[in-house]
Amino acid sequence: MTESDIVTENLVKKFEDVTAVDGISLQVKKGELFGLLGPNGAGKTTAINILCGLTKPTSGAAKVGGYDVQRATGKVKELIGVCPQETAIYPYLTGAENIELFGNLHAMNKETLRKRRDILLENMGLTGDAKRRTAKYSGGMKRRLSLILALIHDPQIAFLDEPTVALDPQSRRAVWDFIKELKKESKTIILTTHYMEEAEELCDRVGIIDHGKLIALASPEALILKHKVENLEEVFIALTGRKIREEV
């Protein structure tokens, strides 16, 4: 049996009277690309925040890379790379400076950091703009740079929170190719998205979340087969009676 990199057991997170995550239990295997699907506000980002150690769960447990997220947050942070939903980069730094900053925050060796910076800039098509301040970047360039910041230290486990939201088709395709490359390197990836075609294209397995609950968990093909529909969008309709993007 393949070892799991991420394990959650009955994870619950309540914000006053709202239950954002409601008893989620799942396992993500090493090297698996796992999609967390659901409309905005379903609880995907809260679940990611718990797994990163940013948010304390109300109850339940979570392990990442074999470490308890609450008890060994420091160890978990060394293992993971997180691309947050918002495009968080420093506008007054150049692309290269942003990358170097986050490489240094991960205590990377100077030479390794330089090599990896150049490779990632090349892969994301940003080499020519590396010395420009990011305030001048387009939205797509910022998202691609944000992805580089998350992965500069070559983490074993990557959390990509809506990495292609609001991207143009060309940039989205570039990000998809990049994620596929990560999968080839046997990285464990959790990808949140409300683009069902993205999940179908990339994910080994998906978990569909609605109102904080995990309502389906299987490979995209298995879910489509089980519900006798054409795609994941229709799976969601079959499960909830709603379109996934009605609530966007």
């Binding site: 968080a88 400076e97 925050l105």
Partner: protein, 385 residues
């Protein structure tokens, strides 16, 4: 703690300061422009109910007439001067250099004989024995140098009798400290407070920086890395101390070329910069407190004035020209003690090890570290670092 992380974040903060026009203006250009404009134009001295403490060294050989006691009573009766007697000039001068008295008056040995000679022949100046009262003034106090000599001169003249304005007197007043050096300008009095003034706007910059990083998700992004809260806060404090140092150097150069050139040694200048660095800790602390209260960077800008204005008006060169009540209120803000210590060092000629400077330094150190600690604890409690 990994120094690599601290250095990376410090460099980032430095680049922000240099590259963000608004930050660059607020931190470096605004204090310089303000200091220039204020220093060049500010000249009024407002205090309707003044009170000055004067030290008296009485060398008078009083005979049958104790004229020096009459003089002391007359000084006290003005209700403007508080007289404190000293047994020797050295002790009095020490207190003057510490700012404990605004002036020291030396009554000469021949004061009573002079008074007696005047009484014996009030209309015959040839028969008088002339006496000179020496007055040393606090060169760090604009009001003392301007207000005290005329008051004492008036009291001395009054000893000559009710018609003193028409009749000459055997008593003369020599303001010793002003005889020795060039008369200080208003700008000289303001200069120490300008060093303090410069770094006060760090409060606003720190508050804006933390709230902005919270709003745009950078704080969250850094929290996801292995960077510890200690590493992060160390980098922030280091960054702002460097900025405060650069500010102090710029202001120093500015005031130097505008004519403030105190005759003190390099250790005194170095000590002044240490004081400014210590003071910058309180500004980082107040900035963090503001960032804790403020929900947005816009709100942080406004709220920061809750701390900027008291520090500025009660503790810098601005406050030195306000009422005595305001100056007493100034003792609640750290900037007051920084300005007072710098005034003692630069204008009063006090040593670094003098009690007044050490006391000010102790107050600055304790209060600034405490304010920084409160800021870090509050921010950490409401917004995880």
């Amino acid at each position: 703690m990994k120094f690599q992380r601290v250095l990376a974040l410090t460099k980032k903060e430095m680049k922000k300061t240099v590259r963000e026009p608004a930050v660059l203006f607020m931190i470096f250009l605004f204090p310089i422009v303000f200091v220039f404009a204020f220093g060049a134009s500010f000249g009024s001295v407002g205090d309707s109910q003044p009170s000055y403490s004067i030290g008296v060294v009485n060398l008078d050989q009083a005979g049958s007439v104790n004229a020096s006691q009459i003089l002391l009573n007359a000084l006290t009766d003005t209700n403007i001067l508080t007289v404190q007697t000293y047994v020797d000039n050295q002790t009095a001068q020490n207190d003057l250099s510490q700012g404990n008295v605004q002036g020291v008056m030396i009554i000469p040995a021949d004061f009573s004989p002079s008074f007696a000679s005047y009484q014996a022949a009030p209309n015959n100046p040839d028969m008088w024995t002339n006496a000179t009262v020496s007055l040393y003034l606090d060169k760090g106090s604009l009001v003392a140098t301007q207000a005290v000599p005329p008051i004492i001169q008036q009291v001395l003249s009054a000893l000559a009798g009710p018609n003193q304005q028409a009749v000459a007197s055997p008593f003369s007043l020599e303001t010793a400290s002003l005889v020795e050096v060039n008369a200080p300008s208003i700008f000289d009095f303001m200069a120490p407070g300008m060093f303090t003034f410069a770094s006060i706007f760090l409060i606003m910059i720190v508050a804006q920086s933390f709230t902005e990083d919270r709003e745009n998700g950078m704080m969250k992004r850094i929290r996801i890395t292995p960077t510890t809260p200690t590493e992060f806060m160390t980098s922030q404090v280091l960054s702002y101390m460097v900025i405060a140092l650069v500010q102090a150097i710029l202001v120093f150069v500015m005031v130097y070329f505008m004519g403030f050139q105190p005759e003190v040694g390099i250790p005194v200048y170095a000590f002044a910069f240490v004081l400014v660095l210590l003071f910058s800790l309180s500004n980082v602390g107040f900035g963090l407190i503001t960032a804790t209260i403020a929900k947005s960077s816009g709100a942080a800008t406004g709220l920061s004035f809750l701390f900027v204005l008291p520090q500025m008006f009660l503790g810098t060169f601005v406050g030195s020209s306000l009422s005595s009540a305001t100056q007493v209120a100034g003792k609640i803000v750290p900037s007051y003690y920084v300005t007072d210590a710098l005034t003692s060092l630069f204008l009063r000629g006090a040593d670094i090890t003098s009690p007044a400077v050490l006391l000010d330094t102790a107050v600055v150190s304790v209060s600034c570290i405490a304010i920084l600690a409160v800021g870090i604890i509050l921010y950490g409690k409401y917004y995880k670092i």
